[in-house]
Symmetry: C2
Subunit: 238 residues, 2 copies
DNA sequence: CAGTGGTCTAGACCACGAA
DNA sequence: TCGTGGTCTAGACCACTGT
């Protein structure tokens, strides 16, 4: 149908894509300046920038203002494993910032606490080498987060003791474009989708122990859920 | 930081967004032509189109080539419920096309069958009123899909009888931009992310009974997974 | 400072949709 | 056919990065 959609930027993008995939342009390498490329392809700069925007949207090229366009290094994929109540990827370094705040916005409903009740937030940015790989905000009722807890792992370990055990983990996933903050933190273009994950953990008393808002870059992350069915599946009557 | 990013298209987009949210521009209504809007805001057409592209990316505006820009109707959200082995949304009408083909590409690995083995594909596009809401390709080994089965539900019902019961459902989710086919079928812009879901159902003999590739539009769909934990959670020694 | 990308202009021409 | 959006040009000027 609309298959002959061969605008100039697509032709140029195809050519650059080929040069990248054949190793003619190597990972990390800087591309010629946009002006040079525009001359080479005999197009105007907006057209050439359109071609680069396509590649940027595919995660093949990273633009750095004032510096140039760079071929992105191939990225290790990460898989978020659902249902376990643990954060994205164990073997990654993470930068954690702890903040005390009061429940506002969606948080009271998420955590099932009154508005303005005290919470502790852990802002975690996990790294894989130099590249950021995920960003998470973890919220915990403050009384469950003893002072001195600087990471959710510490917290979980400390809570494992005399607290009622967890009973349910609910995870909601969506796809959207990143906020400006997210695209900066994850070093992705504003047009790269992110997998947005909201995880709520409830203990057997029905109390919400933790809510996590996790953002994973769409070009190198996915989420995996495995459900084992018991031998009682007769008619799944909704 | 880069908070003073007030380019013209952002100013224009903000103004149009406000007009939409205040009802000054009503849902379904056609916006003035791009030329008129460009004159009104005293910008060039590429700049105005940049503003519309922002709104389009947010799902507020739908462009129809040759016809105009329209305010999108507010959309009913749909939630895919994971772990149940059923397709997106029961109360929606679906258009189904059945095709016979041979396993190729990723399908042999997904279904754990030899390449070129016969499969049946169900292409399901579910509708909510006039708006498409999801798109799914469901693959079944052909010997499990008796002729006359024209829908996965029929199929499931027919298989419920003497077949070994299901034992595991694995669901992998990612966020990405739609293919051209998907953006057309789902009537979303090419820059609107989709939630991509791959579901594989295995029976207790280890045989893959069904693989489904499901695409949900990011602006009106999410996926929900609920995990009930048994009382054996000691130390998650991962 | 020089070089880079970011934004914008004021047109032009083409492709599509509806009457 | 005519009005719509889609693409493109050949510049201009601003903002950022690195030396």
């Amino acid at each position: 149908m609309t298959r002959i959609m061969t605008s100039r930027r697509h032709v140029i993008a195809d050519d650059l894509r080929r040069q990248i995939s054949t190793g003619h342009l190597k990972a990390g390498e800087r591309l010629p300046s946009e002006a040079q490329l525009a001359t080479r392809y005999t197009v105007s700069t907006p057209t050439l920038r359109g071609a680069l925007a396509l590649l940027q949207g595919e995660g093949l090229v990273e633009k750095i203002h004032g510096s140039g366009n760079y071929v992105r290094r191939p990225l290790r994929r990460i898989t978020y494993v659902g249902g376990s109540g643990t954060s994205p990827a164990p073997p990654l370094r993470a930068t954690i910032r702890t903040t005390h705040l009061e429940a506002h916005g969606d948080l009271p409903a998420l955590l099932n606490v009154p508005p303005l009740s005290p919470l502790t937030e852990f802002l975690c940015v996990s790294q894989d080498g130099k590249a950021p790989h995920s960003m998470a905000r973890i919220y915990v009722p403050r009384e469950l987060a003893p002072a001195g807890c600087t990471s959710p792992e510490q917290l979980r370990a400390r809570l494992a003791g005399d607290r009622p055990p967890l009973s349910e983990i609910q995870e909601r996933l969506g796809a959207r474009l990143p906020t400006q903050e997210e695209s900066t933190a994850l070093r992705i273009s504003a047009s790269m989708p992110v997998l947005s994950l909201t995880r709520v953990a409830t203990d057997i008393t029905g109390r919400v122990v933790e809510a996590a808002l996790i953002v994973l870059p769409g070009d190198r992350a996915d989420a995996l859920f495995t459900t084992r069915l018991m031998a009682n599946e007769g008619t799944p009557t909704e």
